[in-house]
């Protein structure tokens, strides 16, 4: 049947660009040599994985990944819900649309542009934020090179980029809450605050749980692109995460086999977390991503 023929281009791309790289992960079990190629390189068994477990630097990287991810989840996960609740209370449609346009826009900017904006505004000398601090008699802060500030900058910039956009999904969920419940609550004497608490919030609770579980499944991705652009050697101790470590080890120091081993660790643990997350979401709410 010619239906199968329509699959051919997609299948070729799938095999070459998704499955061939999966075959390529065998270099994690070899001492890969560019000249010898994948097949010609020497097998070393689990050497690279043993190195990973014993390496102090990987320990730091793993810890950073979890800490940055958890900061992002704890601080940023509730904000879109609050935004959606507040937006729901706004009845002036034009103003609401205007605000929505502004707060969702940053999602569509690249991390490069964001880096440009924040390197500019956070600059130690002449940066807008430090100028304002100075105006109030406070000392300038080197946001991007001070290990104490760096994780805060990561959390803030990802919040700046994503919270408005993430609120959309909750706004949609709120629109689906049964209107009769509000009327019933109103007749029972519930004011707007009580309605928010006892009708709106329970109405979107399953959406909240699904998104939280999925977010927890992605805990190993702490923001590779963001960090690669914003960090520098002075903040490696607090900002280096698995994704950036793979990049530096593999393509910076040409330790292809070791970096691939780190990548496999990342994919396998990440895969298990996503599967568990999806399973948990199905159990709790009956909803899942597939």
């Amino acid at each position: 049947m010619d239906l199968y023929l329509l699959l051919v281009p997609g299948l070729i791309l799938l095999l070459v660009f998704k499955y061939v790289p999966m075959y390529g992960i065998i270099i994690a079990f070899k001492d890969f040599d560019l000249n010898a190629g994948i097949l010609g390189s020497k097998w070393v068994g689990l050497y690279n994985f043993r190195r990973l477990i014993e390496s102090a630097s990987f320990g730091v990287v793993f810890k950073n990944t979890l800490i940055i991810s958890f900061y992002k989840i704890i601080i940023l996960f509730p904000i879109p819900i609050i935004i959606a609740l507040l937006m729901n209370e706004m009845k002036r449609m034009h103003f609401k649309k205007f605000i929505q346009t502004i707060i969702t826009l940053p999602h569509f900017l690249s991390w490069v542009v964001l880096t440009g904006l924040f390197v500019n505004i956070l600059a130690f000398s002449g940066g807008f934020v430090n100028e304002v601090l100075n105006m109030f008699g406070l000392d300038s802060i080197s946001f991007l090179t001070n290990p104490k500030m760096f994780r805060g900058v990561l959390v803030f910039t990802s919040g700046w980029k994503e919270v408005g956009w993430s609120a959309i999904i909750y706004i949609a969920a709120i629109a689906g809450v049964d209107q009769e419940q509000y009327e019933a609550a109103y007749i029972d004497g519930a004011g707007r605050f009580k309605q928010m608490l006892h009708v709106t919030l329970p109405g979107i609770s399953s959406t909240i749980i699904v998104l939280l579980v999925l977010r927890l499944g992605g805990v190993l991705e702490a923001g590779t692109e963001q960090i690669l652009l914003l960090y520098s050697p002075t903040v490696y101790s607090v900002g280096d995460v698995i994704g950036t470590y793979v990049y530096r080890m593999g393509l910076g120091e040409m330790q292809y086999s070791y970096a691939t081993a780190v990548g496999i660790f990342n994919s396998v643990v990440g895969f298990i977390l996503v599967i568990c997350g999806n399973f948990a979401s199905k159990k709790i709410t009956g909803k899942s991503i597939w």
Partner: protein, 291 residues
Amino acid sequence: MRYKKHAEDWIIDSIAYIGMSLFAITALIPFLNVVAKSFSSNTAIISGKVGIFPKGFNLDSMKYVIISKEFQSSFRISIFLTVVATLFSVFIVVLTAYPLSKKHIKGIKPILLIFIFTMFFGGGMIPNYLLIKNLGWMDSLLPLIVPNALNVFNIILVKSYYESIPESLEESARLDGASNLTILFRIVIPLSKPIIATILLFTAVGNWNSWFEAMLYINNSALKPLPLYLRDIIMLATSIEQPTDMDAVANFTAEGARAATIIVSTLPILLVYPFVQKYFITGIMIGSVKG
């Protein structure tokens, strides 16, 4: 429902309107500051006195960016990449999603699983890099067009949409002797315009913004797309070219030029976004209700 305004209403209204306005202002300040810098004089920039309004208004930084050869070249590369990579990807997606939407054809379920598996597991950065190297695609635009064309997430979205189209429409065409390819292009695709518009826009934004692959695979500065050029001038202070004609851009500062480059490269998104917002929002809704 109309009722008298209670004290509670005033409180909630104030929190909602003031709170959201503060959010919006926070979202705008980094932009306004960069816009202000790109129109300010060099003395105002160097003394660090530019807030959210330009000081010593002039167009020199903008002029510098627009006449810069490197900027022009990377802007052209980005336009080309965005158009070609997006059209190619959407073509592959709408084509591949069609047979996958036909649950009754033999062997389609396992094939679907082979696609879905790659959403959750991949070879990772290094094997991908070595593949591109072995293909001899370093320093070409191919790795920025071909490997990501097969977007499995989009395929699943489009496939679900196809499934919602009544089978009877296709059946009658089939009885008239139309081939599957004809049915896809004459009936199914025209009926799927909303979802195709959505993935087209998401893919286009992704391509316009993409820099990581370009950083991995492209060294030749004549092939640098805009985000990579932008990254270089932001991260490596030395890489901004001094203007050749100092008189034309008397107010040149590296900082002003950087600010202007950021603004000009974001402009396409800023201009288009308000008008196409609704497609993005439909997209996220469709993505969230399935399953």
